[in-house]
Point group: C2
């Protein structure tokens, strides 16, 4: 039984959502969880177009992903989301992906802010776009683990990525899922094929635009307890546009 | 009522399947039609894994796309496919995308061959993998419009694309949809935003592999009747890996 602030939908994993490990790729996982939140918003008549009419849009600032496993092609899964809590400026949302027997394979926490289109700055969240979600108004918003910075001397690999036309979605912004593929693609294919992502923290700092060429930088994998740790950043003209930390097994 | 050689499935268009025109992107259209053929194959117990056990795989050689319109985010569509006809070496398959009221927005013809994994060459289609489809055995297979070549002096724009880890699907090959995005991304964003693709013919000649950098070449748009015509090719080390012709309005 779902609470009023929760929403779920079924999905069957397709071959093109999978990567060479034959499991759901991380960038498609992000697309899927964003589509469940978009579906919830649509069901409550506060989707992206409605929010845009109010003069702004939701912007994600941070994600924290916990992964025990990822589904494979043909797997029937349940995608879910909950609008957990919000205060004047921040909305905290959870996402999950469950397998057919109800085991949670992925849990994601995300922090959202409202950007005013006129000022291009963060603004107080308008009541009209948060009330329909039955989220809990709180003073203190839950914290999300933030990635630590990547020191210049720790950078092991750099790879350029030009923002392409099809990286832009129908909201005229670079789809956030591409940050994940730019970050992870900078790791060697052999590493990606033989390691499974178990945790990732990511912080989005600045937008990137069509035609810009970003530089994806990553450290050498280092042991951290029983996991391997990689540190990532997206740089453009000396500015850091996104940071992430990943743990692998 | 579907014939024995036909298969359909419903689909709802998501925001990440759309491009800046706010309609389904061409590369995602290709992913969707490939997933309906994969679903049909799975329903008949002759999916990619079963075919691989026989020692080979289906390879697409040509597509011909006819488009009257494309669906937008949230649209409920029907994806369909028909295994129309086959002979010793070639299998001809049709695909369609219909809107909720049953109008066909997209029709695609595709030609498939069977590649033997041991020889890496085309081989006679094994009975075991074609019979379950109730396709019609014919002497003369229907023809598919082939793209005309792009002359060197007609090349207007060249753009490099490195094959990335996430371009590889769970079958360990570059997902064919990426050829479409490499080809079309080489056109100016402004052209793509203000023109609608109405017809495309594409011929795949050679595979590309992870880490290779292909060059996507395109001619200046030229009037052709009441349409605009663009001519595309994918080059790697002097070899043409794919050719395409597009008509726009």
């Amino acid at each position: 039984m779902l609470a009023k602030n929760e929403f779920e939908m079924p999905h069957t994993i397709t071959y093109y959502e999978c990567d060479p490990t034959e499991k759901l790729s991380i960038d498609m996982l992000i697309n899927l969880i964003m589509s469940v939140s978009e579906e919830q918003s649509r069901s409550l008549a506060v989707d992206t177009k409605v929010v845009a009419k109010i003069g702004g849009g939701w912007v994600i600032t941070n994600y924290e992903l916990q992964l025990t496993d990822l589904p494979a092609e043909g797997d029937h899964v349940i995608l879910g989301t909950r609008t957990t809590a919000y205060n004047k400026y921040f909305a905290f949302r959870e996402f999950w992906l469950k397998n057919e027997t109800g085991d949670e394979l992925v849990h994601i926490n995300g922090m959202f802010v409202f950007m005013d289109f006129a000022t291009r700055k963060m603004a107080a969240i308008p009541n009209a776009i948060i009330e329909p979600f039955s989220s809990k108004q709180v003073k203190k918003i839950p914290r999300i683990d933030r990635p630590q910075k990547l020191d210049t001397e720790a950078i092991d690999t750099k790879q350029d990525y030009r923002v392409r036309y099809f990286d832009i979605d129908s909201n005229q912004h670079v789809n956030n899922a591409h940050y994940f593929s730019w970050m992870l693609d900078a790791l060697p294919a052999d590493f990606l094929k033989h390691h499974q992502l178990t945790k990732m923290t990511i912080k989005f700092e600045r937008e990137v635009r069509y035609g810009q060429t970003i530089n994806s930088q990553v450290s050498q994998p280092q042991p951290d307890g029983d996991k391997l740790f990689t540190n990532h950043q997206i740089e453009l003209d000396g500015d850091i546009h996104a940071q992430a930390n990943c743990w692998w097994q």
